[in-house]
Amino acid sequence: MAWDRNQMAARAAQELEDGFYVNLGIGIPTLVANYIPDDIDVTLQSENGMLGMGPFPYEGEEDPDLINAGKQTITELRRTSYFSSADSFGMIRGGHIDLSILGAMEVSEKGDIANWMIPGKMVKGMGGAMDLVAGVKRVVVIMDHTNKAGESKLLKACTLPLTGTGVVDRIITNLGVFDVTPDGLLLVELAPEVTVADIEKATEAKFRVSDKLAA
C-alpha cells in the first residue's frame, strides 16, 4: 500500500538527526514537523528570518509580526532568534543549514529539480527555492510518484523550468525512497506492499534497485 501524505512526512522525519538545522518547504514538507522524534533536538529555520520556529499559536494569540515562509501565523520558542532576509539567505547560501525538505513537480535521474513554474499557466515565482537547493547541505524531496494525469514525476530529464541542477540527494515518494547517486537513481526502500514491478510501471526515469531490497 502506498504511503499517504502523513506517512510520507513520517518517513521524511527519519532523515532528521540530532542537532540539525532544517528548512521545511510548503505543503507536505511542513507536516514533517509533526513527526520529529522526541529524543533528537532539531531547530527549524524559516527563510523569512527566523531560527527556532514553534507551532501554530492558540486561537486569539496570533501575531501579525510572526509568520513563517508560507505566511502562516506561528509562535516562537525559547531558543528563537530573528534576523533579516539577507542574513537568512546568508545562512542558506553559506551551507550552514543541514537539511532542506521540499516538494517538487519533477525530479530527474541526475538530481535536477523543477518546482516553481509551469510556463503559460503559473506565474508565482521561485521564492527561496533556488537558494535553498543551491545552498543547503542535503536536499530531500517529498512528492507523489505520479502527477494527476498518472504520469511519472521521476524523469530522465525535467521538462519544466529548473529550480536547480544536480542538487537533490534523496527522493521520498508515496511508493518508495530513491537516492541520487553518481550512477543515477537507486531505489533503496519500498512502501509497504509496493513491489519493484509497481515502481517500474510508474517510473519514467531509469533506476537501479539496492541489494538490500533484492533479499
Binding site: 509580526d65 532576509s85 521561485m126 533556488m130 545552498g135 541542477t165
Partner: protein
Amino acid sequence: MKKVYPDADAALDGLLFDGMTIMAGGFGLCGIPENAIDAILKSGVKDLTIISNNCGVDGFGLGKLLDAKRIKKMVSSYVGENREFERQFLSGELELEFNPQGTLAERIRAGGAGIPGFYVKTGVGTVIAEGKDHREFNGETYIMETGLTADLSIVKAWKGDPQGNLIYRKTARNFNPMMASAGKVTVAEVEEIVDLGALDPDCIHTPGIFVQRLIKGRFEKRIEQRTTRKREAA
C-alpha cells in the same frame, strides 16, 4: 536636521516622480510600509518600478498600487497571492523580473553597501543564469548578480528615535534593513517614536544614517494566513 515628519504625505513630499524606482519592505503582508503605500497611491505618481519580495494581495499592500495601474515593473521573488497581478502580467501590461529570494536580498544588501556585483551558486543551470557572467571558483560554477539601489526606499519598523535609529519586531524585519540602506532617500514608518536614548545602542538594527525621514504610522497589520492550534482540554 529634523527627520521626524507629521505624516506620510509630508514625509514623501518632493520625493515622488513618474518612472521612479521604489524599494518597499515586507514579506507577504508582514512588516510592510502601509502608510507610505497609501500616500504614494494618493499622490498619483505612476510608471513605477517596485522592488519588493511580494506584491501584496488583491486590494491591500502593494496590491493597491497594482489595482490602480501605477506599477510598470515589479522586481520580486514570489507574487502568487495576487490575481490582478497575474492578469496584468499575462496581458502584457506589467513587466516582471523574478529574482531568487536570497539573491534579491543580497542584491539589495550589496547595493546599500556599495558593491556593484557578486557571484552566487543560486540559479546556475536555470533560466535565472541566462545571459549572466559565469565564473569558476574552487572548481564550482557561479553566476554574477548585481547590486540594487532605488530612488526611494519605504520601510516599516517597530520603534524609531528622532535620529532615525530603528528596531524591528520578530519576522517583520525581513527585507526592511537592507532596503533602508539601499535607497537614495529612505522614509521609515514606525509604530512608536521614542525619545533619544530609549533604544539600547547595542540593539539597534538600522542605524539612523540610513533613514532620512521618519513618521509614526497607523497600521492595520492584516494577517494573510491565520493558522492556529486547538487548546488541549484541561
